[in-house]
């Protein structure tokens, strides 16, 4: 067992990026499920701000997923299709009780993704492995995505605060 927090091979890097893709797919799918799960009358009551947030989250995750997939391609690995993850989310999904629950879940999504990319960046930076893909490009992509997750968490927090 490796006790050190570092990425030591292309294989391990590809696996971690695959996990990143799955996390993005979970966010994408849960955001879509949240909107669909609300009864029609409640769906109308979900104010524009929250609706926009979920649509943005869905689009942003799809964009992150594509950027991660481009890196994974360079490592000659594959990713799990969105439809497969969507089906798994569907099988386990329990809808939040109300809009606050939706926002809380969205905050968990953003914070979890931020933590994942933050740990991954640390693990790449702690490693002196020569990866099959350009290290600068890898880190630039991860820095960008981490920043967007941080902004996303702040956006949800602001909405939660002024709704309280």
């Amino acid at each position: 067992m490796s006790l050190g927090q570092r990425v030591s091979s292309d294989h391990q890097l590809a696996r971690l990026l695959q996990i990143g893709v799955v996390l993005e797919e979970v966010v994408e799918s849960r955001a879509a499920h949240h909107l669909e799960s609300l009864p029609a009358e409640k769906r109308d009551a979900v104010d524009e701000e929250v609706r926009e947030l979920l649509v943005e989250a869905n689009e942003e995750s799809a964009d992150h997923r594509e950027r991660l997939e481009a890196l994974i391609d360079d490592l000659d690995a594959e990713t799990v299709a969105y439809e497969e993850i969507n089906a798994l989310v569907d099988a386990q999904y329990g809808p939040p009780e109300d809009t606050d629950g939706v926002l809380y879940d969205q905050l968990c999504n953003e914070e979890t993704a931020y933590k994942f990319y933050d740990d991954l960046i640390d693990a790449v930076e702690a490693s002196d492995t020569e990866f099959a893909l350009d290290r600068d490009r890898l880190l630039e992509t991860l820095y960008d995505i981490r920043e967007e997750e941080k902004d996303g968490a702040e956006e949800v927090t602001e909405i939660m605060e002024h709704r309280a």
Binding site: M1, Q5, Q12, I19, L23, L88, A91, Q92, K115, D119
Partner: protein
Amino acid sequence: MNTADQYLKAIYLAQRMEEGPASTGTLADILDVSPASVNEMIGKLEDRGLVEHEKYKGASLTDDGLQRAHEALQTYCIIERFLVNVLEVEEFRAEAHALESVIDDTVANRLDTIIDRPEECPDCFDPEHDCCIHLEACGPVN
């Protein structure tokens, strides 16, 4: 999962295997580190009230240590089950060990939303086979 949690998980598994305190040698084998490293960390965990250490016998988890070890093992089980069921990884044990230091419990909890994990987790983890007994890929239980 941080290093302390990896040690607590290893102590928990060693205690189950040895039906008593976890010896330094067993922990060194499980964690693939030197006995000196094990002793140093056991001392730190003892100072934090997570482990009790008896000379010539070994380390035992306190109630607080046991709770943290349970949580750490659950996180590990999520990683293993995710690797098998979602990413269809054959060498899931080795990969789970390699990934556990990089995967945080908050991340594991999110992955947990798409896997079907038994309610008795982590009691159904088999330390000898290094996997959950309900996982088909774990193989037959002796």
